[in-house]
């Protein structure tokens, strides 16, 4: 095992996959000469040159579409969005083209393309730069949505995403890039659609993904001090969703809290709550609870911003409510 930062783990995945397969290229704003807005692509231009690490103008509709077209004719593009906030100007490409071409063509064209970049809030970036878009993309049949929480998952999942033959939305928590974590030495991949128990427990299941895994683990730690054993489940892939592992955990604990950074209305948590409610109806000792981002555009003010994002103290309080302790 080695300890690397989240961004380095992603960089390793890109580098190893690009070495393996010439059809893979990286394209996006500032990915090359600038070495990446968040330094995920650091050194790749030096290693692979301008042919395979392609800087673009600020034209998301254009280069997201280029990724789709190149994938249609057999390349395997990795398209970096400087942040997923900017994906919204390319929504037509992602929704109407990437997700639908396979079906509209009767299965003649498949699109092995990864769209990746940072998502979620960071610090004081205000309403337009603090969005969690996974609920939007996971809504669309034809797209897969992947959201790693630590360096090990980031590398293994990105490699699998690049090898997958479908269009992938790969969202990297913007505040996770500097996080350090252990990763295995040598080659490994983590399959898409497989959740992981990040911490075992028997009293309550806390479901979270991306940076909400950290919130869930912090809450579980605090609860443990009070003798409450929380199990933390990380779906890792939002779509396809590993429903079985979630259900297995909730059947064991009888209680379920879902942490979601994004908005509550039609959120990913709403979908998970429905599935848990349906399959664990007889096992639940309390209604499924959600702790989500505030149902409003993100405020700039730091204090207000932090109150709009789920945190460990409120997760602890929500768990106690589920256990009828408060």
């Amino acid at each position: 095992m080695r300890t690397v930062a989240f961004r380095e783990a992603l960089n390793e995945a890109l580098s190893e996959e690009m070495e393996r397969d010439d059809r893979i290229f990286l394209m996006g704003e500032e990915v090359g000469h600038y070495n990446g807005a968040y330094k995920v692509s650091k050194g790749l231009m030096d290693k692979f040159g301008e042919r395979r690490v392609v800087d673009t103008p600020i034209a998301e509709t254009g280069f997201v579409g280029v990724g789709i077209g190149a994938a249609m004719v057999g390349l395997r593009p990795v398209i970096e969005l400087m942040t997923w906030n900017f994906s919204l100007v390319a929504a037509d490409q992602l929704i109407n083209n990437a997700a639908k071409i396979r079906q509209m063509s009767g299965g003649q064209f498949t699109l092995p393309v990864v769209f990746r970049g940072p998502g979620g809030s960071a610090h004081m970036l205000a309403a337009q730069h603090s969005q969690s878009t996974e609920a939007i993309w996971a809504h669309i049949p034809g797209l897969k949505v992947v959201m790693p929480a630590n360096p090990k998952d980031a590398k293994g999942l990105l490699k699998s995403a690049i090898r997958d033959d479908n269009p992938i939305v790969f969202i990297e928590g913007e505040v996770l890039y500097a996080d350090q974590g252990e990763i295995p030495d040598g080659e490994y991949t983590i399959p898409l659609g497989v959740a992981e128990v990040k911490r075992p427990g028997k009293d309550v299941t806390i479901i979270g993904w991306s940076k909400m895994v950290k919130v869930a683990l912090a809450a579980a730690e605090a609860l443990a001090a009070e003798g409450i054993e929380a199990e933390v489940v990380d779906p890792r892939t939002i779509r396809p969703l590993d429903e079985d592992l979630i259900v297995e955990s909730v059947k064991k604990t009888g209680r379920c809290l879902i942490l979601e950074e994004g908005w509550p209305f039609n959120g990913v948590g709403a979908e998970i709550a429905y599935r848990v409610g349906k399959r664990c109806f007889d096992d639940l000792d309390a209604p499924v609870e959600r702790l989500t981002g505030a149902d409003m555009p993100m405020p700039y003010n730091h204090h207000l911003e932090q109150l709009c994002i789920p945190d460990a103290p409120r997760a602890v309080a929500a768990v106690k409510k589920l256990l009828y302790l408060e």
Binding site: T61, V64, V66, G69, A70, M72, N96, G106, T110, N166
Partner: protein, 339 residues
Amino acid sequence: MGASEQEVLAGTKSGAPGLPAQTDAAQLKTYYHQMLAIRRLEEALAKAYALRKFGGFLHLYIGQEAVAVGALAALKPEDYVIATYREHAHAYAKGMSARAIMAELFGKETGCSKGLGGSMHLFDASKNFLGGYGIVGGHAPIAAGTAFASKYRQDGRVTLCFFGDGSVAQGAFHEAVTLATLWRLPIVFICENNLYSMGTPLYRSMSVADVSQKALAYGMARDRFDGHDVLRVRDRVAEAVRRARNESMPTLIEIITYRFRGHSMSDAGLYRTKEEVEESKKRDPIAAGRDLLVKAKVDEKEIVEIEEKVRLEIEDAVQFAEDSGELPFEKLSEFTYKE
């Protein structure tokens, strides 16, 4: 009332129609066959639509046939073509059969897209026909992507991207052209200017009616000409294709044309005068294609043979579509994701 074709074309160089020396009678017969088959195919589609054999949107190309047939005659089979929702002609001219197209519109499993795409989404990977797209301008970035792939692989292929005058106002068009010129991609953008974006004449949708002038801002080669003569279309597009293939330089071509029918089947065409439409029909590209055969001294009997062949081809396609089955619902989910 909108500007006439003549007014729009004023100041545009467009050589007199005629027979270039290298054109042989066999080629002319092929072009005539293709244009006529496209016309008859679409007439059959309109009839079937009226009889409610299928529903949805149906955008006919009738009147514009020389553009698709001429432009695609300038390509090699391995070149890519991508088009709009008015793409029956481009699909046929790229080598797709009347059967596959007809069955697709009938929603049958034997259709080119298994009945999952319909009129607006014809695809054929084997013919390098990369589809018809229903969002105006949304396919232009994809075209830049296929051209990018050709340059990346150095495979010598050219991408032809067709779109209408209505696409030019879309941001996607601007971004696609921006990237294609910045990266010197082997692509030809062909604007089929039929003078109306749906029911809106040019002067109400564009500040500058000459679409080809947009190329100047990108530093891109441009061309602009009348699209009623299949040979002119072929030869002028061929220049741009050569530029793309040999110099990896994109071109924006504006071809002035006219659709005899409405935007779609539900369009009564009240925004155009009868006189304007009738005037345009005097310059029917298919009649012009027949004249070329006569000028080339092709025997009248041979011309009638082509026409009879086309009649049978389309009759057969309709029968094939009628007789074909539909994709069962149970099979549908396998087209959402590749396993």
